[in-house]
């Protein structure tokens, strides 16, 4: 019988994390009240057999008092009642960021203005791998609208910048330099993330986690 105690406690935690491939303290997928404008960034897994290595993001926007959400994404878009748990075709949804109130009003106005153009551009030049794809769309909208959040590492294509590109990260506290073969992201919150042909590995400083190109994309605390 194996017992975990004393000095091996960290090993126990790592082991438990590894076998469950879980993210600690994930955000709730309960729909927020409609007493304020809400903007949410979510992602879900692709279908089999890519369900554990590739995710797809969407923005959900609901104005104050409305019951339906307007969804912005590549390959879809439209209105739906529950894009948190019931967004078609994509499994295991994760809520990465949510903006409410005045902040969400500004975010919603920007997404409504920017997203259709970015979507058209991406869809006309769409390449499943390495990009530009739906994850490139998510990252570009985040950066264009100044929404500080990150897509998970399994959102392959989020760091696509063409042959070479770079700038401030979507999280807003770091810098990144990208090519299709290699890329790097360094930041105060982002930690260090290395990209090898679209696959991401690294260490997220806040919230702390190991970044992996598998499952939810991290082993540790949920991103927020």
């Amino acid at each position: 019988m194996v017992s975990f105690s004393g000095t091996v406690a960290p090993v126990r935690w790592l082991w438990l994390l590894a076998i469950s491939a879980c993210v600690i303290v994930p955000r709730s997928l309960d729909l927020p009240k409609n007493d304020a404008t809400t903007v949410a960034l979510l992602s879900g897994t692709l279908g089999h057999p890519l369900d554990n290595i590739a995710r797809h993001p969407w923005f959900a926007v609901r104005r104050k008092g409305e019951t339906l959400w307007v969804v912005y994404e590549v390959g879809g878009s439209g209105s739906e009642p529950d894009p948190f748990r019931g967004h078609h075709a994509y499994g295991d949804p994760i809520l990465h960021a949510m903006w409410r109130g005045n902040e969400a009003d500004r975010a919603a106005a920007c997404i409504e203005k920017v997203a259709p153009g970015v979507k058209r551009e991406i869809e006309s030049d769409y390449t499943f791998y390495p990009g530009p794809n739906s994850n490139t769309f998510g990252d570009r909208v985040l950066r264009t609208c100044g929404l500080h959040a990150s897509l998970p590492s399994t959102a392959i294509g989020k760091d696509w910048r063409g042959l070479i590109g770079g700038g401030v990260t979507s999280e807003g506290t770091g810098l990144q330099l990208e090519t299709p073969l290699l890329g790097v992201k360094i930041g105060l919150k982002e930690g260090v993330e290395i990209h090898i042909m679209g696959l991401s590995v690294g260490i997220d400083l806040w919230p702390p986690a190991i970044i992996l190109p598998l499952g939810p994309g991290r082993l540790g605390f949920a991103d927020r």
Binding site: P49, L50, D51, I53, I196, V201, L214
Partner: protein
């Protein structure tokens, strides 16, 4: 080269000519068969049989990915290419370790849904700072993957490499006098097999035993990883088989033949 291009052109032209309601790209899409195997894996090796002067590297840990697609107009014998990328560290005289190989040349023989045997060659680089000389590798790799049951899949590979640029690493594989280095892995994947929309595919975690020889030292260890495999639609392959056998399915049939 020109002959190859002409041959491919003739094959495509003949196939396009067969199509009554299909554009060039559509017909090309129908004619192409393919598949791929993607591994994310971590390998930890420790020395088990030292060279006379002692092991240069005590332990080696590598983490990386292997992507090996295959593509062709035949449903059984196809062009295979791929790349392996792994980074890690050594212990003892510890340092950054890397092992990266590109396989632009290869052949894959597919059987069943996503089972295959491949042979590939190309060029790679491998080394570790402060312990293992950087070397250019000229590898020859054989891979076998096959579903044993609906949830179990056998993964096996062997690679013999010839070194360039690192004289100390020449003749470093005692069990393979014909090569400078040797590497192998046999593993078992536990996961799922799918047939969504006619595409045979599967995924799951695997655990394997790894063996490696370099610098006249033998290393044994474990490989843990995640694999995704996918192949072109079974229905399409069966259509071709039926057509060859003189019992073609209707052109618009998407059903798998009984």
């Amino acid at each position: 080269m020109r002959a190859i291009v002409v041959a491919i052109g003739l094959v495509l032209t003949s196939r396009v000519a067969e199509a009554k309601r299909c554009s060039l790209f559509c017909e090309l899409g129908r004619a192409l068969q393919g598949g791929a195997s993607i591994h994310y894996e971590a390998t930890a090796l420790t020395h088990v049989d030292d060279a006379p002067h002692g092991a240069v590297v005590d332990d080696l840990v590598l983490v990386g990915a292997r992507v090996h697609p295959f593509l062709g107009l035949s449903d059984e014998i196809q062009y295979h290419f791929g790349f392996d990328v792994a980074w890690g560290a050594t212990t003892g005289r510890g340092g950054f370790a890397y092992d990266m190989t590109l396989y632009p040349l290869g052949v894959a023989v597919r059987f069943g849904g996503t089972a295959f045997v491949t042979l590939g060659t190309g060029i790679g680089v491998m080394g570790a700072t402060r312990s293992l000389d950087d070397a250019v590798l000229l590898p020859l790799e054989a891979t076998v993957e096959a579903d044993l049951t609906n949830r179990l899949r056998l993964l096996a590979r062997a690679r013999a490499s010839y070194e360039a640029g690192a004289p100390a690493r020449h003749d470093g594989a005692p069990s393979a006098p014909f090569a400078d280095e040797l590497e192998g892995m046999v593993g078992l994947r536990v996961g799922h097999h799918y047939m969504d929309h006619g595409f045979p595919s599967g995924n799951g975690y695997f655990l394997g035993v790894s063996y490696r020889e370099f610098e006249r030292t033998s290393y044994l260890g474990l490989t843990f990883g995640y694999e995704v495999d996918i192949g072109s639609p079974e229905a399409q392959r069966q259509k071709i088989h039926r057509k060859r056998a003189g019992h073609p399915l209707p052109e618009d049939s998407n059903l798998i033949a009984p």
